[in-house]
């Protein structure tokens, strides 16, 4: 498995995607670190690869940007050839193919979330080794380790859009508090048939936590 080169930009990260009836809520922190220095404190880790398909990036900033660019290219080509938008499943399969075939040279943990007409909302997790997992919700990045318990306890299938947004904001916020590689603001996006709503939640608006 590859590791980060000395001085390489690292999306330490907390990323998350949650399915609800009608769409997907995705969220991420905004910290990019090179060692202890925060290279970018307002990073956008939620990257559009198609009109209704986004990916959440964690791991090497360079690797995930390159992979997302390639997948975006292939999805544009797919749309031109098939005369219809790709399904989230196709996008996730492309991420998986790249991550698996190049697993020795990449450090990328990606969550794919989106909506398509055939299957409705979908969330796929493509972790470091290049496996593919279709899930109701997915968490990833170094910060995710601190919120597994919270997420397992709080998530229920059939939550509403607003409940999912709150779930994502709370979870990412908790991870940002404990993980040194996660921080900054919380970026969220809600993807539905009708479009994508993007939001930023700043420090003063973060959910209440006991901070000592």
């Amino acid at each position: 498995m590859a590791s980060l080169k000395p001085g390489e930009a690292n999306l330490g990260t907390t990323i998350m995607a949650v399915k609800f009836d009608g769409g997907v809520v995705i969220g991420a922190d905004s910290r990019t670190s090179t060692g202890t220095y925060v290279a970018n404190r307002v990073t956008d880790k939620l990257t559009k690869v198609h009109d209704r398909i986004y990916c959440c990036r964690s791991g090497s900033a360079a690797d995930t940007q390159a992979i997302a660019d390639i997948v975006k290219y292939y999805l544009d080509l797919y749309t031109a050839q098939h005369d219809e938008p790709p399904t989230v499943s196709v996008a996730a399969s492309l991420f998986q193919e790249i991550c698996y075939q190049n697993k020795g040279h990449l450090m990328a943990g990606i969550i794919v979330g989106g909506w398509d007409e055939q299957n409705g909302p979908s969330v796929y997790n493509v972790p470091l080794g290049g496996s593919l997992h279709s899930e109701e919700y997915a968490i990833g990045g170094s910060g995710s380790t601190y919120i597994y318990g919270y997420c397992d306890k709080t998530f229920r299938p059939g939550m509403s859009k607003d409940e999912c947004i709150e779930f994502v904001k709370n979870a990412v916020s908790l991870a940002m508090t404990r993980d040194g590689s996660s921080g900054g603001v919380i970026r969220t996006a809600v993807i539905t048939e009708d479009g994508v709503e993007r939001t930023v939640t700043y420090g003063d608006q973060l959910p209440q936590q006991y901070l000592g």
């Binding site: 797919y78 050839q81 098939h82 005369d83 399904t87 499943s89 196709v90 399969s93 492309l94 998986q96 193919e97 055939q118």
Partner: protein, 185 residues
């Protein structure tokens, strides 16, 4: 009765002065002189049929299938050279497999039809090869339902509700047009 090319028909990379590529037309003749193949797209699937001319009583049954499959959702029948058909079906199988290994999904009908059209057309560009002497009926079921395409030696492909190729194609087409294919199962 047959028009002759006189000099412009020696290779497929030559046009005639009136804009025809004779080699492709001759390939079409090869199809027109062979056993008939019919395809019907109905409500819940596609039916393919071929006329099998038994030229000897010593033939082993089932040893020379003229309707072939390429993947779980694609069937192929043809009129013309059987050996050319086998070559094309191998290509269909490879394309379907290749598509699946990238997208992890079954190749849609219009995509496989387009890829095969491009492949057959490539053989009408170079004098080193000859065009395929087959009209291929591609039956494919994807998320938009069952579909039928006919692929000709020129590389042209069209989607059909019902089509026929080979010796009896005129008679077959007349009969097919009488049917109400949208209602049949």
């Amino acid at each position: 009765m047959t028009s002759i090319g006189t000099g412009y028909d020696l290779s497929v990379s030559t046009y005639s002065p009136d804009g025809r590529v004779f080699q492709v037309e001759y390939a079409q003749k090869a199809v027109d002189n062979s056993g008939t193949a019919i395809g019907l797209r109905v409500k819940d699937g596609v039916v393919l049929a071929v006329e099998k001319i038994k030229h000897s009583r010593l033939l082993v049954p089932n040893s020379n299938k003229r309707i072939m499959t390429a993947g779980k959702h694609i069937g192929v029948a043809s009129a013309g050279w059987m050996s050319d058909t086998r070559h094309l079906v191998k290509r269909v199988r490879d394309e379907a497999h290749n598509y699946h290994s990238i997208y992890k999904a079954d190749i849609p009908a219009k995509i496989i039809a387009e890829r095969m059209g491009m492949y057959v057309q490539a053989y009408t560009l170079y004098s080193a090869v000859r065009p395929f002497g087959v009209s291929t009926l591609l039956a494919c079921k994807d998320k938009d339902g069952p579909q039928l395409y006919m692929l000709e030696p020129s590389g042209e492909y069209v989607g059909y509700r019902g089509c026929a190729a080979g010796k009896g194609k005129q008679v077959a087409k007349t009969e097919i047009e009488k049917l109400n294919l949208e209602e049949l199962t």
